[in-house]
């Protein structure tokens, strides 16, 4: 019997707003413990929450970008559970009336496009953090009250790879909206996964496990792949899957049971009486919709149309907003977009990846005018493309202009026919056999000679001149 995998993801996203969800405290990552707090987020007796309007605006942006229907009124609920990082012992969240519902997200899979339905997007406040030392547990409430949205997908995801793609796509959209930095390591994006297996073709869902504690997209993929194997093994051996929460252990690459359903919380949701429900005006929703920026899919389509890029190239460039912006800015100043695209997707990206430089820093490490200057030096034969490949990392590393690097390293292209001819003569003398082959019309042999000349000039000879001068010399 074949099993199929059913996955639904719950993604929590911290919104990049300067102040907390229900008070005026600032949110800054990495501040000393308990310094970003006030009586309200500390949940002191007598305080009342007041909704930060930006919270609604940002959440609405996300909901609309995920094709959701925004509710006609906004209502908050209290979700009760006792934990030291939750000073009120309830979290302000949304229960039966989420901000938005019924959306979807398109992802690209091997066989084409797949629509992953979004069940709901709701608003809530974050809890604080516990720091466990050897003999004490300490509470840091700086994060308490940080605005979060939770994006819950339908169980439409069929593999760990699809989950990975979904998350990548979601992150891309949220970055386009500029509402979160979506950094899983910093905790600004968190993902819990519900996963179950069922016999291929069955329509009823199997018993699911909820997997938590992944701190990267890769972690999500690995945890899900582990769970698929674990659950399938259990089922094949005639066992049953227990509905439970399991924690991913990155080090051991395994999930471990945390608590079963019997111990599950009864959250005792009630409408928060301190936050009066209010109508979300249709006009406000429409305004938010109008103000949505161009999103990845639209960007991709436009890149194909405006710059004649391939579907693949446009897909990669549009997946990251900063990369797409960089590309378009460069294309304004250099009219061969395909060449910019090639450089971005090969040498530039590989440099950033190797050196762990985020794409948003690209403009700093490689200002567009420097890139354009380099491309123009290739065009006017000052350097060859090959030399440029040597220049580029140096330029990224030192921030020096191409022209300076060329001068310092003596990398200017040799275009003096006399100089090139003398090298050609050397090569012809050293490769009599090959010369014969060239004369008999073997292209490969010709390429070899060109290569030798290039080698002797350390790549600086103009390859086209070398080529034609050899041909001339050997009269082929």
């Amino acid at each position: 019997m074949q099993y199929e995998t059913v996955i639904g993801l719950e993604v929590h996203v911290q919104l990049d707003i300067n102040t907390k969800a229900f008070c005026g405290c600032s949110i800054e990552f990495g501040k000393p413990a308990n310094t970003q707090v006030c009586p309200i987020c500390l949940g002191l007796p007598g305080v009342l929450p007041v909704l930060n309007e930006k919270f609604l605006q940002y959440a609405m942006r996300a909901a609309l970008a995920l094709n959701c229907t925004v509710a006609n009124f906004l209502k908050f609920d209290r979700k009760h559970y006792y934990y030291p990082d939750l000073p009120k012992n309830y979290q302000i969240s949304q229960y039966d009336k989420p901000l938005a519902a019924n959306g979807h997200l398109q992802i690209k899979i091997e066989t084409g496009q797949k629509k992953i339905r979004i069940l709901r997007v709701h608003m809530e406040e974050d809890a604080g953090k516990l720091i466990h030392t050897k003999d004490a547990s300490l509470v840091d409430l700086n994060r308490t009250g940080t605005p979060l949205i939770e994006i819950v997908s339908q169980p439409d995801i069929s593999s760990a790879a699809e989950a990975y793609t979904y998350l990548t796509r979601l992150k891309s959209i949220l970055e386009y909206l500029e509402i979160s930095d979506c950094d899983m390591e910093k905790g600004s994006l968190r993902c819990d996964a519900n996963i179950s297996l069922r016999p291929q073709g069955h329509t009823t869902l199997g018993t699911k496990a909820e997997v938590k504690n992944m701190n990267s997209f890769k972690g999500v993929r690995d945890a899900l792949n582990y769970e698929i194997i674990r659950q399938e093994k259990t089922l094949r051996e005639g066992g049953t899957i227990i509905q439970e929460t399991r924690l991913w252990n990155e080090e051991k690459q395994k999930t471990f049971s945390m608590r079963s359903k019997e111990e599950a919380h009864d959250y005792r949701y009630i409408p928060d009486p301190d936050l009066v429900p209010f109508v979300i005006e249709k006009e406000a929703i429409e305004k938010a919709r109008r103000e949505l920026p161009e999103l990845p899919q639209a960007k991709k389509e436009r890149l194909i149309k405006d710059y004649s890029l391939s579907d693949y190239d446009a897909g990669i460039l549009s997946a990251d907003k900063q990369l797409a912006i960089y590309f378009e800015d460069a294309a304004q100043n250099y009219k061969q977009p395909k060449i910019i695209c090639n450089w971005l997707m090969s040498d530039i990206m590989s440099y950033l990846n190797t050196n762990n430089i985020p794409i948003k820093k690209l403009k700093e490490v490689l200002p567009i005018d420097k890139l354009v200057a380099m491309l123009k030096l290739i065009d006017n034969n000052t350097i060859s493309g090959k030399i440029a490949k040597q220049v580029l990392p140096e330029m990224l590393k030192t921030g020096k202009d191409t022209s300076v690097i060329i001068k310092e390293k003596n990398l200017s292209q040799i275009t003096d026919a006399g100089v090139i001819e003398s090298v050609i003569n050397e090569v012809i003398n050293e490769n009599e056999k090959v010369v014969e082959e060239v004369k008999s019309g073997k292209d490969k042999a010709l390429m070899f000679l060109v290569g030798q000349v290039m080698k002797k000039t350390r790549g600086k000879a103009n390859p086209r001149m070398v080529n034609s001068l050899i041909k001339k010399k050997l009269e082929v």
Partner: protein
Amino acid sequence: MELTALTAHKLLKLLSENEVSPEEVASAYLKRIEAVDKKLNSFAHIDPDEVLKKAKKIKGGKLKGLPIAVKDNFCVKGQLTTCSSKILKGFRPPYNATVIDKLEQEGALILGNLNMDEFAFGSSCETSCYGPTRNPWNIDYAPGGSSGGSAASVAARLTPWSLGSDTGGSIRQPASLCGVVGLKPTYGRVSRYGLIAFASSLDQIGPLTQNVEDAALLMNIISGYDKKDSTSVNTAVPDYLKSFTGDIKGIKIGIPKEYFISGIDPDVKDTVTKAIDILKKLGASVDEISLPHTEYAVATYYIVAPGEASSNLARFDGMHYGHRTNNLKKGTDNALIDMYSKTRGEGFGDEAKRRILLGTYVLSSGYYDAYYLKALKVRTKIAEDFSKAFKNFDCIVTPTSPTGAFKIGEKTSDPLSMYLSDIFTISANLAGIPAMSVPCGFTSGNLPVGLQILGKPFDEEMLFKVTHAYQQITDWHTRVPAGCK
């Protein structure tokens, strides 16, 4: 001249004319508190040295240093605020409630915090961790509650006026039982920011005073929209002192038949009936009305209020402030749960525990729809009863409480009979409408009786107008308990 015998208005006049200094007034009250409150136990926290220090510095504003005392659930920066509960032992808020800010901006001098039923859970002021407050009219009797300290202190002239909070009658019932004026304003009229919540959708802050003029003055100061309280309503606040036209001719008063039930004390019934006759004589038209859902009010309230309370009180866990257990067992399997349950077990009194359990139960999965959701629906029905009635009537008059004061200990073993003490006051909270209690006579046992008047949302002016007219031709509100003269 005995300063403490004066109303807030009269004292304010003396202060304004520099006849007396804030310090002299404060000293007079401190002296009286020292002498009388040993018997009454109406204050939970008072720091005389601090009060005198503040009195020296205070000046200006509309109140010119006039003292006031507040219930022990109002956050006063740096001063003990404990809801008369052991679990908040030693808690000094780092911030002021909005009403405290407003009062201090107008030059009020906060004398201290007044005793109350623990977390406002009660109708007798007996559940306080500081012991019961006693009724100034007879110290064997309870002052009512939960704002028992707020009512008793005003009746005994230990403060010219006070603030209380009213969730199901907690201002009006003790005002009635102690013979003072008590107003629960419309929900949303006064900011709740800094009032330690009992049931957030029902709680409202209001004044307890010797007469309605003082209540109107205090309302002028504490009312109004507060951006820190999303449930406060942004509508203009009238000058309540201008409500006193003296003329109530043609005002239409409804008397709900459901409020004159069999369990009502005959003395109360007679007294209230006489008061209604006086309103008739003043030219008001009086007719019987029906508020058909009245009988469900107590049941509805005892689902909604504990439900919200169980949520609001979840934060008292010993983790961040207040009482924390000293009986932690080392090496317990679940040390966290052990700490929570012991802290809360030790910190909360019986009535608080009863309501937390009740509230937790009605919100539990599987019960929520049957209890809480149902109660919210009935609550709407009760509110509709009033809005229908107010289409034809300007206000509604009832007794405040079915009986006069009861003896200390009389009802503590029977929570249900205690809950029924609020049978006439609860509906106003469920409907969110303003309601006031004014003294209207005495029982045969010489205990005060209160007349309750309920109005349309944000029409406190009507209540002031009618009760002021009543107080012009009656003198119940000027009576002072003999033991406190």
